[in-house]
């Protein structure tokens, strides 16, 4: 097909980089605040602040270059090409709007690591404050602000920490595509994350918000303008979740290379696939709830005010309808990573591939039907509690399948103990504790005692920190050589694993006991009898932070000081992403590959290589 010549060669010349984004964002904020004050609502300037954040974000995106395409369309000009990787060389490409999924993956990686540093420092502050049983180190108000900032920042991070860097970078490589389905949406899903983090951090200037990550009204309605940071920041994360989900799903459905049948799809891609379905369907509900909260705070409607015909149960239902799938948004890609990495180092085919996929889908489907287990003691619909107790406990069946598949793969294997494999083992141990403690919380009689206590706090830290972050570390040691072209030091990696594993368990296991012994979550003062355990936990938490610093040190050491170039396939893995050269060429594959075998066919006599990289005549792979 001949591309027709455009009538007009005019282009919108907004430069597309982060600097102009910031330059645009600052006046955007003040314009929004000014517009908000024009409404003259009796709302403590909440309208102004919210509009300021929204305008600042839109102006930032305009400065980064997102509005070029719609405006060029609207003016009838020639539209920008969808991909131009050749223009995206050099370090500057990381600060520009890039439509290359590899650049976006690395942008995500660095952004998330910086956010993780801040979230982690927040955790250290919280633990420091809990060294004493009263509020003498940190005043009560500042303490709950810290709780809010740490929790929301960590939720932002953990929603994107695997899908963002690794999903974006690896999914096209794993399915044999040359690009993503919707590169602009993909870039958007990244470029809203930095504004979300900055807006969240801006809450400190208003004194912080008091609600934690759940944002329960009416408390969130009496909170100061800091709450607006929560609303806008979380809404941006919802946008990121939906856009990323649409892009990922369309890519996986539509851009698989010839021969990449559904039964040859790597497990990591299945993890991304299921998590994207969750993000696609759950995040809009959060967006609607946040919109209601915004209206309540600005135009004085009463969605959540009992005295004016609303109900706080409405928020609790909508929020947890999003919130529970959200925690599986965290963990499904981690399951994918574990089932992806273990076969490569066990040097065995994945044991029960189809069962594993069924397990992922089972978790995904069931997670939509369990949200009321967060509300067992809220007094909402007590007659439904048996149903939600059952559905919650049923989730342990598909989760058990993940364990079965992994253990089956390890059975009589020839395990190559690399650092990623160590982290996979750590994941299995931690997530087992997290999962078993989840059963305690799903049983209504015991949940009465455990709900809202440090037990549940320890439970979800075991699943998220011990589960997702350990999987993240496995993924980092496994795939960063491909992504950055540099090997990470395995010696530091081993020290890192053992340090982190011991410090993690030493930090969070005592918290189960603390919770059983009458300590609620999010309190700045607690029973002095628990001071010993809390001090133990705090000191362990410092060590845990130290292990993360060691990881950062390993990154800096290995990238800048040793800079040992990574081989194209240092793990001798079969799967497709390791068959491309390192660094990955701009268009991934010289030609669209023809996939002829599964990614885990180790030990099978006369197994064919996974793909014919010579290319397929007539296939496009996304052009």
């Amino acid at each position: 097909m001949v591309v027709p010549e455009r009538v007009s060669e005019r282009r919108l010349s907004i430069p597309n980089n982060a600097i102009t984004g910031i330059l645009f964002a600052i006046p955007g904020y003040f314009a929004g605040v000014w517009l908000g004050t024009l409404f003259g609502l009796n709302d403590d300037q909440n309208t102004g602040v919210i509009l300021g954040y929204i305008f600042a974000t839109v102006a930032f995106l305009a400065g980064v270059g997102f509005l070029n395409y719609p405006f060029e369309r609207l003016f009838g000009w020639r539209v920008s090409p969808l991909t131009d990787p050749d223009e995206n060389r050099g370090v500057g490409r990381f600060f520009r709007l890039s439509l290359d999924h590899k650049v976006i993956g690395l942008q995500y990686l660095v952004t998330i690591l910086i956010m993780l540093l801040f979230g982690g420092i927040g955790a250290m502050m919280i633990r420091t404050s809990l060294l004493v049983p009263d509020s003498s180190i940190t005043p009560s108000g500042n303490y709950i602000s810290l709780i809010g900032l740490h929790s929301v920042m960590m939720i932002f991070i953990t929603s994107a920490v695997i899908v963002g860097p690794f999903g974006n970078y690896l999914v096209p490589l794993m399915i044999g595509a040359r690009r993503m389905a919707f590169p602009r949406l993909e870039a958007l899903s990244f470029w809203v994350v930095p504004p979300a983090a900055v807006i969240l951090a801006a809450a400190t200037f208003w004194g912080g918000f008091p609600t934690g990550w759940t944002g329960y009204p009416p408390l969130s309605e009496q909170a100061s303008q800091a709450m607006d940071s929560y609303i806008v920041g979380f809404a941006l994360i919802a946008v990121a979740l939906v856009t990323s989900a649409i892009n990922m799903l369309a890519t996986i459905i539509g851009l698989r290379a010839p021969g990449m049948t559904w039964t040859r799809l790597p497990m990591f891609v299945w993890g991304i696939f299921t998590t994207s379905i969750l993000g696609l369907l759950a995040a809009p509900v959060l967006a609607a709830a946040l919109f209601m909260l915004t209206l309540d705070r600005t135009t004085q409607t009463s969605f959540f005010l009992a005295s004016n015909g609303g109900s706080n149960y409405l928020w609790e239902n909508l929020f947890w309808f999003f919130g529970h799938p959200e925690v599986y948004i965290f963990i499904l890609p981690a399951f994918g990573i574990i089932m992806e990495i273990v076969p490569h180092f066990a040097r065995k085919p994945l044991w029960g591939y189809r069962t594993g996929v069924v397990g992922l889908f089972g978790v995904m489907l069931l997670s939509f039907f369990v949200w009321q287990h967060h509300l067992f003691v809220s007094g909402i619909a007590p007659v439904l509690r048996p149903f939600y107790m059952l559905s919650t406990e049923l989730i342990s069946i598909p989760t058990g399948i993940i364990f079965l598949v992994t253990l089956g793969t390890l059975w009589r294997a020839r395990v190559w103990f690399t650092v990623p494999m160590l982290f996979c083992m750590g994941f299995l141990f931690n997530f087992l504790i997290g999962g078993v403690s989840g059963v305690y919380l799903s049983d209504v009689p015991t949940d009465v005692t455990l709900h809202g206590s440090y037990f549940s706090m320890a439970h979800f830290h075991y699943t998220i920190m011990g589960g997702e972050i350990f999987a993240l570390m496995a993924a980092a040691y496994y795939w960063l050589p491909k992504m950055t072209g540099k090997m990470l030091s395995p010696t530091i990696g081993r020290i890192h694993f053992w340090w982190m594993f011991i410090a993690f368990n030493s930090t969070f296991f005592p918290l189960f006991i603390v919770g059983l012994l009458n300590m609620p979550r999010r309190v700045s003062s607690y029973d002095p009898a628990l001071v010993g355990l809390n001090r133990w936990v705090t000191i362990s938490a410092y060590f845990l932070f130290g292990s993360m610093v060691l990881f950062a040190a390993n990154l800096i050491y290995s990238w800048f000081f040793v800079a040992r170039p990574a081989l194209a396939n240092p793990w001798h893995a079969r799967s497709l992403e390791w068959q491309v050269p390192t660094p990955v060429p701009a268009r991934n594959f010289e030609r669209v590959p023809l996939v002829v075998a599964g990614p885990y066919d180790y030990g099978i006599p006369n197994a064919r290589p996974v793909a014919d990289l010579g290319g397929v005549v007539g296939a496009t792979g996304g052009g």
Partner: protein, 293 residues
């Protein structure tokens, strides 16, 4: 074993694992039974919760030990010993094993769910059987209907949460409001938990009671204390500035005669202010709750 064909190569591993698992599980279960599980036995409901916790731990121990020894065993016995890379045996799956695993976990889960539902439904732990705010829409406002109260077998106590304190109203004693919670021993109590402003959660730890206090909602919770002594009350839902300090350790379970003396003293002490307090209602929508401005 029919469908479960055990390959020759698997046999020593399985035997060893089985022995380790059985021994460690017995030790683990015995250890788990030594623990005193909160919230102990001050109330009938608390005792049921302790027992459920014990049961869950006893069931979880063999599962936990089973998976952990599988992981450790693999790490020790199935690690590569040669320097060169060797592939393992190409096992693609084993349908009977998978079915058995799913069936066992399903049986465990269903047993737990049924047990939980039975415990929940049994009269001892009939927590919050009332629908939330069962009178919502019928008696708004501070006047209230006053129909709750009376002299049933159950003592009715309303827990009124506010930022940042719990107060208690005794419906059967003229709606007198107090700052501490006293309960008679061995008498069923119906707690009506409500809030004046935002969401709190009433957590009487030793009694095994936790119920959210929502504005405009009457959250009902049943408890029967069976031992005298003091108990602690805490707020278990983030409620703003003084959430961490919303605690009271002066709750008391006392004998019926002591309780009668105490409540008479309260009625006398608070006689004046009781006139200003609105008549007893399942929940309140106080005027200042309406939005300012």
């Amino acid at each position: 074993m029919g469908v479960f064909r055990i390959e020759e190569a698997d046999r020593p591993h399985l035997l060893r694992l089985l022995i380790i698992w059985v021994v460690l599980s017995i030790v683990g279960i015995l250890a788990a039974l030594q623990i005193h599980y909160p919230p102990y036995d001050q109330s009938v409901q608390g005792l049921d919760q302790s027992r459920t916790l014990a049961l869950l731990t006893v069931l979880a121990t063999p599962v936990f030990i089973g998976v952990v020894i599988m992981v450790l065993y693999s790490a020790i016995y199935f690690r590569r010993t040669t320097t060169e890379l060797v592939d393992g045996p190409p096992m693609l799956g084993n349908t009977p094993v998978q079915i058995a695993w799913i069936a066992i976990s399903a049986v465990l889960v269903l047993f737990l769910a049924v047990f939980g539902i039975v415990t929940l439904a049994s009269s001892n732990v009939a927590q919050a059987v009332g629908t939330p705010g069962r009178s919502i829409g019928q008696s708004g406002g501070q006047t209230g209907s006053g129909t709750i109260g009376g002299t049933g077998p159950e003592l009715q106590v309303q827990v009124v949460a506010q930022q940042w304190y719990f107060t208690y109203r005794y419906a059967d004693y003229g709606g007198v409001e107090t700052t501490h919670l006293y309960l008679p021993v061995d008498r069923p109590v119906e707690l009506h938990v409500t809030s004046l402003d935002i969401i709190h959660s009433f957590w009487a730890y030793q009694l095994g009671v936790k119920a959210d206090a929502n504005p405009g909602v009457d959250n009902i919770f049943h408890v029967t204390a069976q031992k005298t002594g003091s108990f602690q009350v805490r707020c278990a839902e983030l409620c703003g500035l003084w959430h961490g300090h919303m605690a009271d350790s002066e709750g008391q379970v006392v004998s019926q005669s002591e309780f009668d003396t105490w409540i008479a003293q309260q009625q006398k002490d608070y006689e004046v202010i009781s006139k200003a307090v609105p008549s007893y209602a399942p929940f309140y929508f106080p005027e200042p709750l309406l939005k300012a401005g």
